[in-house]
Amino acid sequence: MGSIQLKGVTKTFGNTSVIPHVDLSVEDGSFVVFVGPSGCGKSTLLRLIAGLEDTSGGEILIDGRNVVNEGPAKRGLSMVFQSYALYPHMSVRNNIGFGLKMAGLPKSEIAAKVEHAAGILNLTPYLERKPRELSGGQRQRVAIGRAIVREPKAFLFDEPLSNLDAALRVQMRLEIARLQKSLGTTAIYVTHDQVEAMTMADKIVVLNAGRVEQVGSPIDLYERPDNLFVAGFIGSPKMNLIEGPIAAGLGAKTIGARPEHITVTTDGTGTWQGTISVAEHLGSDTFLYVDVPNAGTVTVRTQGELGLKAGITVGLTPDPARIHRFDNAGKAIR
């Protein structure tokens, strides 16, 4: 069991308000990702839930019980830190078992649980090693082991993959997602990487300047961004945002078209005409950066290899059903 609700949570440091007001509910067993640019307050929000920081106002309910006045130990949550925060002087075994030892479990039970967790994470051969003798990926797994062994109400992940190289990051992303599904434990995961958010989350919470911009499933956010910020943040390459006469023609302050929703033609047809300034050939895809009068540089993603080069004039046609329109306040017009 592990449902978490935030009701009107606020946090101020001195005179600066880091979290103005957040309402949020995390269902039991779900994988929720907090995503946003650095400094958006996502880590602070996680630390408030963990109890590592005091809230300035509002309530945090874990399984319906308000825990704002309880220390981190009493909340029954476990956390995986960005730096892993392994205890450098303890073996892997003791690192994983430390929480159980603090909870006063008998030694035999600790040993059994640690062995079990190590087994799940393929750490059994390394149990007697010290953290400094492990690779980055192994340290990461120890940190996860420390989190799962206590069978917490929820896992809190604070950018856990940012210290790994790209290949390992993809692999650990899968492992964490798979582990969370098999354990069925609620997870809150903080990242600035929208790809991680899209691939792992049941529900994404997009944060900006301490405010929740939108909450929804990955596809919701991709297909129906509520506002300009979410539209620009979710999706890679980024959505093209065009202002001026083109947008005005569609009755909006700004329009957005995703690179993958624009068709390229070379026969003189197309809604807009422009010149390719850079073409990136990835094999499976081609990214074109097209200079379009009145629209600036438009990014287009086409499948496969089309043999297009810089300097060529092309026609671009956005899929009309997938054009996003935003008003003066940046809100989506639906």
Partner: protein, 290 residues
């Protein structure tokens, strides 16, 4: 960034240290200030009376004060000059690729661990003694008249001893700073065809500036209070030749039992040290931010 509970705990834990240091500083200092306004001699007990700034007037107009002040400044200045210049040279040398660097390093820092009374007596009796000292023998072998160091150049002798004690400190800190010089900077300079002297003056010296400042400030604080070296070698003499402010205050208090006058002198010493301390605190405070 922390919780209210841990902030509160942090304050409680720091409180005892702050309290004892506060008492240690404020109580004796307050007493010194109070005594400095009294006519108070231990040989004439029960006759204490308030005399205002008279002690200061006596102390500050006493020719002995000016001699001691001059000696203090000369001692601090000379030792600083010798240890900084010597320290830079030693540090540069130690930064070279040399065989047995570890051992040489131990040799060089050794004097810092010698207690002041030992180093003073060893220099005075084994090295500088006009009859049996090693220096006398060297002078005689070279056909010179042996020098009676503590009679003819007493302050210089004290300076030499103190400088020997503090040279390792300067060298060690400057060497540490030198070794933090980016290796790529050296290589870039080599690529640019910078000669060794230009390299030293344009790159090494600016890099050492901060460490040199630290050495100057820390040494100054300790050198203003040099006491044991004078106490066991010259006793401040001959005459007042090696009396610095610290020794003058000591003599006034524990040799002449003039509590009032000594207290006034002590306050003068505190004021002098605070001028240096102000710079020091600012420098270290800046570093604390990082």
């Amino acid at each position: 960034m922390a919780t209210r509970q841990s902030t509160f705990l942090g304050r409680i834990l720091a409180a005892p240290s702050i309290l004892v240091l506060f008492l240690w500083m404020i109580v004796p200092l307050g007493m010194t200030i109070w005594f400095s306004l009294l006519r108070y001699n231990l040989l004439d007990p029960g006759n204490e009376s308030f005399i205002g700034a008279l002690n200061y007037e006596y102390f500050l107009t006493d020719p002995a004060f000016f001699t001691a002040l001059g000696n203090t400044l000369l001692l601090v200045g000379s030792v600083l000059l010798i240890t900084i210049v010597g320290g830079i040279l030693v540090a540069l040398l130690m930064d070279q690729p040399i065989f047995g660097q570890g051992v040489v390093r131990l040799f060089i820092i050794a004097p810092f661990f010698v207690m002041p009374t030992v180093s003073a007596l060893v220099w005075k009796n084994l090295l500088m003694h006009p009859v049996s000292g090693l220096f006398a023998w060297i002078a005689t072998s070279l056909g010179f008249q042996p020098v009676d160091w503590f009679s003819n150049a007493p302050l210089f002798s004290v300076i030499l001893i103190v400088a020997w004690q503090w040279l390792p400190f300067a060298a060690l800190i400057l060497l540490t700073a030198l070794q933090s010089l980016d290796g790529e900077q050296k290589e870039a300079a080599q690529m640019d065809g910078v000669g060794p002297f230009s390299f030293f003056f344009y790159i090494v010296l600016p890099h050492l500036a901060r460490a040199i400042t630290v050495v100057i400030l820390i040494e100054t604080i300790f050198l203003l209070s040099v006491f044991a070296e004078i106490f066991v070698t010259t006793g401040g003499g001959p005459g007042l030749a090696t009396t610095n402010i610290a020794f003058l205050v000591y003599a006034q208090a524990l040799l002449q039992y003039d509590v009032g006058g000594a207290s006034a002198g002590g306050i003068v010493a505190v004021v002098l040290a605070n001028i240096v301390a102000a710079f020091m605190v600012r420098l270290i405070g800046k570093n604390l931010e990082a």
